[in-house]
Every structure is written in C-alpha cells, then in structure tokens.
C-alpha cells in the first residue's frame, strides 16, 4: 500500500506542513486476567494524508470512524500505535517526550463541546492568558494587552475578560476556545467538530470567524466534521474516513462534483437540499457500521456497498490516485485490481 500513498502527492511537493503516514491507533477492547489485551478496537487503521501550508483540510466521517482519534494524536493527547507524523519537517513520533513538547504549541486544538472545554473556575482572561504564560511567549507585563487583542480578534469585548465561562453562550464560549488556541501563534489548528454543538445560526458565525482568522494569521486547519455540508464551506481539500480507513482524498471541487467512492456518494446524497422541489436520488445505505473490533477483512465498506464487485470482500483496496490530486480506496478504480474493468 505504501507506494500508492507516496504517489498521492505526485503534484510537486507543495509546501507540506503536515505529513501523516500509516498512522494507526489500537485500543485494548478486552484484557485477560494479567491485563494483556486479547482483542483490539482498530480506531485508526493505516491512515495517510498530507496537509499543505495555508490550506484547510476537511476530515469527514460518521461517528466512530476515528477522525477525532486522528486529531488527538496530532495534538499529543494520544500516542499512535504505529505510523509517523511529520510536522514542518520534524518527525514528531520519533521524538522524546521532552523534545516533542516544544512542538506542542505549534499544533493547537479547538474542542467540540464549548461547555466542557473551559475550566468553570477560571476567568476568561486567565483561560486565554494561560497558554501564553505556560509557553513563555511574552513577558508578563505584555500578557494582558495580548489577551485584549485576542479577545478582539475573536469578536469579544475586552471587558468580558473578568467573566466566568458560565456567563457566556455556547457561541461565545467557542470564541474563547478559539482565542485560547490562537494565543500561542500555532501553525496548525485542529478543529474537532467546532460547530456541531452550536445552533445553526451561530454555526455560520463561528465558521466565518475561523475563515477570517485563517486569512489574517495564515493558519492551516485540519477541520474535523461528521457531515460534508459544513466542510464544504471551509475546506480546500477533503478526506473521507470510514471505520478507521481513509476512503477518499480530493480537492473540494473534485470531491463534490465527482465523488468516486460509493461511501462518499452516499454521504453527499444525505445532505439535505434547500430546494424542496428538487428531485434527488438518495442513496440509502443498508445495515450498520461493522464493529471496529476485528473489522471485516476486505474493504471496510464492502458490507454496505451498493457497487460491490468481486474481490471487495477479500482485500482492503489501497488508496490510489485516480485523477490528479484525487485519491480513492476502491477496487473499481484499482488499476489491475479485480474490478478495474467496471470503472
């Protein structure tokens, strides 16, 4: 599979900020009497992708597909079982813990739940100041003005500095979370479903804010979401995950215009339409996501796929570049594979 992954970036090495290779995370599902694991949950299984400097990469998939686990491994909240994370030319996975810590501040995380991600006993100003002080970014006397600046950046007034999180609405709390992530001048921000806990009306505001900040500070985003509709607004390229595997990676336009993986097609057909008269062909998938404990041997999606061909049950198709910059893991596009002719 590896050769295919490398070919993924056949396009000249555009300034790659993050290069994730064969990232795998297993959790022990059951342990025997001695605490040794007897079966594993394959949360993330051999996932590779690249994020270019200045782009927003959307990572999409349904609940339990491992997208949040990927995000957590990037910010060092979880240690990968295997695989490498190369960030800005440095292999984070090969580093010692103390060395790794220096790069921690360059990758920041915006949390999904704005109600759980702020310490209820700290004032907003202290929450935003903490990363600055911890990482010694500014001398003490400049911290306060920097906090004011950050509050202004995310659209909060600076007199709110002395308030507590419970005095804020969900959208405002999420803005505080964004300000905290910005405080250390990160290069990459992992947005872990940053709007899924918010009202639709506020979702748009927060998404626009993220977009503005990206322009203003030249940020790079990994944008994790469970639906393609949110990702459509913010990402330049999109990766689709299913059951721990990357199914398709493509530029946004190419993905929405011509989804290749049957799973992506099903996801796209599930986006509600604004026009009630529009006749759309909904793809209704049958069955459930298989258990990530001992996942199926062949293509992870084979059990529910409507375009199954011979061989799908035997081997997981590798992710291969089918069109320029458009990669898919599907046997129908697998040159020389069992179902190549069908495509």
């Amino acid at each position: 599979m590896s050769e295919n992954v490398e070919s993924q970036s056949a396009a000249p090495e555009q300034d790659v900020l993050l290069d994730v290779r064969h990232l795998t995370k297993r959790f022990a599902a059951e342990t025997n009497f001695f605490g040794r694991a007897t079966s594993y949950v394959q949360a993330v299984d051999d996932v590779s992708f690249q994020i270019r400097r200045g782009e927003a990469f959307g990572l999409v998939g349904e609940s339990g597909c491992g997208k949040t686990t990927v995000g957590k491994m990037l910010v060092n909240l979880l240690a990968p079982t295997s695989g490498t994370i190369i960030f800005d030319g440095h292999d984070l996975t090969a580093m010692k813990r103390s060395e790794r810590k220096r790069y921690c501040k360059d990758i920041q995380l915006i949390f999904q739940d704005p109600y759980a991600s702020l310490n209820p006993r700290m004032r907003i100003g202290d929450i935003i100041a903490e990363p600055i002080i911890t990482n010694n970014i500014l001398p003490k006397d400049q911290v306060e003005s920097r906090v004011d600046e950050l509050l202004e950046c995310v659209g909060l007034a600076n007199y709110m500095r002395n308030r507590y999180p419970h005095e804020f609405s969900g959208g405002q709390r999420q803005r505080v979370g964004i300000a905290r992530a910005l405080a250390v001048n990160p290069k990459l921000i992992v947005c872990d479903e940053p709007v899924s806990a918010l009202d639709v009306s506020i979702q748009a505001q927060v998404l626009n804010l993220l977009d503005d900040l990206k322009e203003r500070f030249g940020l790079t985003y990994l944008f994790i979401a469970h639906g393609l509709n949110v990702v459509k607004h913010v990402s330049d390229r999109v990766g689709v995950m299913y059951l721990g595997k990357m199914m398709e990676i493509a530029p946004k336009k190419s993905l929405y215009a011509d989804p290749l993986s049957p799973y992506t097609q099903a996801l796209l057909s599930a986006i509600p339409s604004v026009d009630p008269a529009a006749k759309r062909e909904r793809i209704i998938l049958e069955g459930d996501v298989p258990s990530p404990i001992d996942p199926p041997a062949g293509c992870r999606f084979a059990g529910r796929c409507f375009a199954k061909v011979e061989g799908c049950d035997e081997v997981m198709p590798p992710l291969s570049e089918v069109k320029p910059d458009h990669c898919v893991a599907c046997h129908r596009f697998d040159a020389g594979g069992p179902g190549a002719a069908v495509a």
């Binding site: 060092n76 921690c104 995380l109 999904q112 310490n119 006993r121 659209g155 600076n158 007199y159 609405s169």
Partner: protein, 316 residues
Amino acid sequence: MSMAKNKLLATEPAPSGEALLGGKPAGASKERRVSVWKDVLAGIVSNKAALASAIFILLLAAIALVTKFFPQVLPYDPYAQNLSESLLGPSAQHWFGTDIQGRDIFCRVLVGTQITLTVGLAAVAISLFAGVLLGSVAGYKGGKWDTVIMRVMDMMLSIPSILLAIAIMAALGPGIEKAVVAIGLVAIPEYARIVRSEILSIKENDYVAAARVIGDSNAKIVFKHVLPNVLPSIIVRATLGISTAILDAAALGFLGLGVQPPAAEWGDMLGRGRNELFRAPWLMIFPGLAITLTVLAFNLLGDGIRDGLDPKARKR
C-alpha cells in the same frame, strides 16, 4: 469598587446572542481584577449564617487565646478542686454550675476551647493533607498507583475508626498530641476516596485535555485545573471533619486515652458528666451545647466558603 461602577456593570447587556462588539463601558478596560480570597470573603459576607459562624469561630479563637495567655481574667481557677461547692446548679456565682469536684463549669468550658479548637483543626489538617495528596495521586495517575493506594485505604476503612485510633494510641501512648495524630490518620481514607472519585470524573473534562494541549505540566494541571474543581467537596467534608475530630477526641478522652485529668476538654467533660446525668444535668448540657454550636458554626462556615468559591453560586 464604587457604587456608580456597580450600577454600570449591572446594566450591561447580558451576554446573550452574539452581538458582542457593542459599546464597551468607558474606562472598563482597566476593570476589576479580583482575587479568589476576595471572592471567598464576599461569599461569606453575603451569607448571613456563614457570617455569624465566622464571627462565632473568631470569638472562640479569641477566648482560647485569652484564657491561654491571661488566665487571671477567669473568675475561678478551672483546675482547683473545691469539694464544698460540689455539684451546684447554675446560679449568679456559677453561671453553668459546678462539677463533682466543685470546679466552675463556665471557666472549664472557656478553657476547653483551647484543646477543642486545636484538636479539631490539627486533626483535620493532618487528614486533609495526606488524604488530598494520596487521593490526587491515585485518581490522576491511576493504574498501579491507584490500586496500591486505594487498597491500603480500604484496609484502613475495614477497621472501625475508633478501634484503629485506639490501636494507634496504644502504639504512641496517651496524650492529647498523640490523640490528634491518631484521629488525623484514621480519617485519611475518607478524604482520599472523595478526592480520588472527584478527580476521576474531572480529569475527563475537555478543559484538562486543553491544558495538556497547551503544554501544561502534570503538576500544573492538577493544581490549577483539577484540584480547584475538587475544592467544594473537600471543604464540605473538612468542615464536617472538624466536628468528627472533636467528637473522636471526646471518645478517646472518655476511654482515658485523650486528655488527661485535670485538663478541661468538652468531650471529656461530657463523658465524665454522664454519671451524674439525672442529678446534675448541667454537667452535660453546657459542654454539649458548646460542641454543638462549634460544630454547627464550622459547617455553616464551610457552606459559605464553598459558595464563595463557586462562580455560579455567587450573587452579583
């Protein structure tokens, strides 16, 4: 803070909706930076019961200090026997009556404040320190640390606490300082269990993960993000613990292991007065009242401190 400014803050638009950049109050950028201690103080002052309790406890402390360093202010010697005045009821001469040796109970209750307060606070300090430390390590580190620490705590809990205290006293020998140590040690598991279980749930919160992403060290995460959120339950337990410690000291004293006669200690006085309950009820009533009021005051004060520490319970 001036009243005018208070008004201004009160009329600010509530932070609802997302229209956030509305006009900020003039001069508000250099607004209040308030310390936690001021919050606690405000919490106590705004709660009448807590305020009364705080005053009562300060009064007790003052009595303890005055009777310790200026015993001449007392009308009678609390230790001198006067058998001709044995078991007199409350009167103008002896407000709380006299005990079987003819000692003035009012004076003995006042002097007893010294030992009672010391025992309560010192024993709780011991169990609080050790309990929070062990509970934090067990809860935050988990794994083997958790297993080893909590099994030892379970062993301690499996023995009735007063029996365990007696066993520790047997090893250390009698005396009030040793009673304090024994009472403190015996209560450690309760604190450790509370702290551990609170930490187990708190450390799963996203804000703890956020602190880790920022690069905070484990110690900083525990002290800044985890323990402040455990504080309310610890405070409530500790204030209750003061009362338990006072009662335990009384029990040990009753068994002859705590204070030694003729020292005055409320629990000890209660225990000795039991024999004369029907003949001279004042022997038990007044020390008992003193214990009750003190315990109540510590509990109410604890409630006030807890509310003062909780940003959500604070009234603006």
